[in-house]
């Protein structure tokens, strides 16, 4: 329990601060401290205990305040900003319901290792703990969701805590940091010292990989006959995409990406095996499970990648490079653990490895699998096939455009059919899988990169979850292009119903809506299409339009295989159980061809 503060009082610490400095209000100190940390955009929704800070923000010349229409939208927008820039995204909400509405965004940032600062107003310290109006113990509620959190109880601590929060959020393994600030601290006046240094004895992430481990890794790579690189979001967090490309170029080892790692390696390169995992490329999963060495870079052996752990890459040895020691040996026991910053580790590794001249047969075998099991879909003459919309969009879009997605079938289709080639261009709630992510994340990215094209693919269910942000797009003139793949169903769950529950619909039909008309109501241009021949002209009109746009693409949910995300490894199974089509899984397919896995 913090000390009770009865009234607004002036605290002057003459020893540190300059005598000439005038007393400032807590709220102004907060804004100045944020400016000092390089904060240029803040996504905040005001309320009783945060309006003081908004009063200060409205006078700031350095920080652009964007008003989301729901706090969750603000948290995802801040994450979108962070994902494209690498800098901490900042969101803010008032106490109680406002603060609690940030929780989904905070957890999303935790699971995807995104630097996020969440600022929450809190009731005055004099009434904290009394169940005051709009009081919620948000620090307590977010313990398991944050990388770290603070409750500010002394105005003098504001600059130090904000500095620590930005440092902790953006260094080591990035993550969300919450700062809870009672209203009386915002109103109090004082002279504080803005000269702050970072001194937290419990926070010293080790960045430098041990040279002997790099040496060992290089030796394992030298000995391997069937090596594969499995690269994830850590490559993006450590800005190591270039070093990764060098490693592949120098060694010739094939590479597959996690959904978080898309863009770290160009997919048009023959050595790219696209995405692995539950909805990944069949050839990526086959190659992983036939490898004798898995070089895991900034990944966490998530269950959506491994399936049944005991059967995963049974004959392989593992090198695992990660900044977070707790990720090493968490799900998989590895042979060569390398703890440290991936960029540094890859630089060292690139110096230590030699071209792999002995993996020709392995690469050839993989190219064979690539040809045999391409990521594919069937076109239809009468109805729009959603995968084709994604492919056609990329043909027309700017090469450096940013792609955002919600969660569900459409998300996996974009992951499968968009050809990624550069990091920080892909916004996807990967770990938490939070529906409603796409639109606000795209909004945050567009605010960060006003000159780049930002395209948001959504499912109808996902789009509805934060559709209020259309108003933000309109009022702030944020020109995000939204493509709603609208099948009136919660398609991913319906797909599971078809596969595992005899198509019994358990509340997965959500009903039809005309999203172009909804856009129109917000003053945003929109169009609804439902015929295959309408796709390309409609996309052209959308991309030509200057402002925000909603393209509502209606297509029927279809329980035949082309309505499903295929391939698919059912949860907890192995790559051999990959559903290839309506009739076969990989095990059966190989059995018919007389191939031993």
């Amino acid at each position: 329990m913090p000390p009770k503060q009865t009234s607004v009082k002036k605290i002057i610490s003459i020893d540190k601060a300059k005598k000439s400095q005038k007393p400032m209000k807590g709220r102004d100190i907060i804004v100045k401290a944020l400016e000092n940390e390089g904060c240029e955009v803040l996504f905040g929704y005001p309320g009783g205990t945060s309006m003081e800070i908004h009063q200060a923000l409205t006078l700031s010349k350095k920080i652009r305040m964007v008003l989301p229409r729901h706090e969750q939208g603000g948290s995802f927008a801040a994450a979108g900003y962070a994902r494209v820039t690498g800098k901490p995204g900042v969101c803010m909400a008032t106490s109680g319901p406002g603060a609690i509405n940030l929780l989904t965004g905070i957890m999303d940032a935790k699971l995807d290792s995104i630097p996020l600062i969440a600022i929450t107003g809190q009731v005055p310290t004099s009434v904290m703990g009394s169940d005051a109006f709009q009081e919620a113990d948000v620090v307590g509620a977010t313990f398991p969701l944050v990388k770290h959190s603070y409750l500010i109880t002394d105005i003098k601590d504001i600059p130090r805590i904000i500095h620590e929060a930005f440092h902790i959020a953006s260094t080591g393994r990035p993550g969300p940091v919450l700062i809870d600030i009672p209203k009386n601290i915002q109103q109090q006046e004082g002279i504080v010292d803005f000269n702050v240094t970072f001194d937290v004895p419990g926070y010293k992430p080790n960045l430098k990989p041990a040279p002997q481990q790099i040496k060992k890794a290089a030796h394992f790579i030298k000995e391997a006959k069937r090596p594969i690189i499995y690269a994830g979001g850590g490559i993006i967090a450590s800005e190591a995409s270039e070093e990764l490309r060098k490693l592949v170029k120098k060694t010739g080892i094939p590479i597959t990406n996690t959904v978080m790692g898309l863009g770290t390696y160009p997919m048009d390169d023959p050595l790219s095996l696209h995405m692995l995992g539950m909805h990944g490329a069949v050839y990526a999963n086959i190659a992983m499970n036939h490898a004798d060495l898995v070089i895991a870079l900034g990944v966490r052996f998530d269950d959506r990648v491994t399936g049944k752990l005991a059967e995963f890459c049974k004959n392989a040895k593992f090198i695992h490079v990660d900044i977070d020691p707790s990720e090493i040996n968490k799900n998989i026991s590895v042979d060569v653990p390398v703890q440290g910053d991936l960029k540094q580790a890859l630089k060292m590794l690139n110096d230590a490895v030699e071209p792999k001249k002995d993996i020709g047969p392995w690469v050839k075998q993989i190219q064979g699998w690539k040809k045999e099991f391409p990521l594919d879909y069937q076109l239809d003459e009468k109805v729009i096939v959603p995968q084709s919309v994604i492919v056609e969009t990329q043909k027309l879009a700017d090469k450096d455009c940013i792609v955002s997605v919600g969660v569900g079938q459409h998300q996996m289709w974009v992951a499968q059919f968009w050809r990624f080639h550069s990091p920080r261009s892909w916004l996807c709630s990967s770990g938490l899988g939070s529906m409603g992510f796409g639109l606000p994340a795209a909004m945050g990215a567009q605010v960060a990169c006003p000159d780049r094209q930002v395209i948001n693919f959504e499912g109808d269910g996902s789009f509805l979850m934060n559709i209020q942000e259309l108003q933000t797009l309109k009022i702030e003139n944020i020109p995000v292009k939204n493509i709603v793949l609208n099948n009136a169903h919660l398609g991913m769950v319906a797909q599971w119903e078809d596969r595992f529950y005899k198509s019994l619909r358990g509340h997965t039909f959500i009903g039809d809506a005309n999203f172009a008309e909804i856009a129109d109501a917000f003053g945003i241009k929109g169009e609804t299409i439902s015929k295959p021949e309408e796709v390309v002209p409609a996309l052209k009109r959308m991309l030509k339009h200057k402002g925000p746009y909603v393209l509502d693409v209606k297509y029927p949910y279809n329980d035949k295989s082309h309505g499903h995300v295929i391939p698919m490894i059912p949860g907890g199974h192995t790559y051999l159980d990959t559903i290839l089509n309506q009739t076969h899984n990989l095990r059966e397919y190989w059995k018919e061809k007389g191939i031993e896995p």
Binding site: V139, G140, F143, L151, V200, G202, D324, S326, K330
Partner: protein, 162 residues
């Protein structure tokens, strides 16, 4: 296997919640937990007794280390260490048992710290084996109430956590 883990933490609001939340959230088990200030008032020391295979203990120590308020984590089980726990036991001390209780107290070098016409309160300090021994002997004589401090531990010899 049981492990005794010493943790130095910043003496800040919420740190105990962060640690207990980490244990419950990840399905780790706490057998006992003791926390109090060290000779530096900014730093508290916790002694956590937990159980698990090597992989689980590795995760526990790594996850603890990730918490920003945690300064140091040492699994004492890997080395020689002294551990102690204190127990206060309130006994039904009827006439026929009073002599026997005192004899047990003497054998175990425990102390009677409070007496009433019908009760003795016994204080004993020791490791787990010693405490288990006295409890077993006292139980048939009628224990009214027990309170235990949770384990505290230090490594033996010159070694220090600081």
């Amino acid at each position: 296997m049981q492990h005794t883990i010493s943790v130095l933490v910043s003496n800040k609001f919420g740190v105990l919640s962060r640690i207990s939340g980490l244990f419950s959230g990840r399905g780790f088990n706490i057998e006992s937990l003791n926390v109090a200030e060290t000779n530096d008032p900014n730093i508290s020391r916790m002694t956590i007794v937990t159980r698990g295979d090597d992989q689980k203990i590795e995760q526990i120590t790594k996850q603890l280390n990730k918490l920003v308020d945690i300064i140091k984590v040492i699994d004492l089980t890997e080395e020689n260490f002294i551990d102690r726990e204190m127990v206060l036991i309130k006994m039904n001390a009827e006439q026929k048992n009073r002599e026997e209780i005192l004899r047990i107290v003497e054998i175990f070098r425990a102390k009677v710290v409070d007496v009433s016409p019908a009760t003795y309160t016994i204080e004993i300090t020791g490791d787990e084996g010693k405490l288990k021994g006295i409890m077993e002997l006292l139980r048939p004589l009628g224990i009214k109430e027990v309170v235990r401090s949770g384990r505290i531990a230090l490594s033996r010899g010159m070694k220090s956590i600081n």
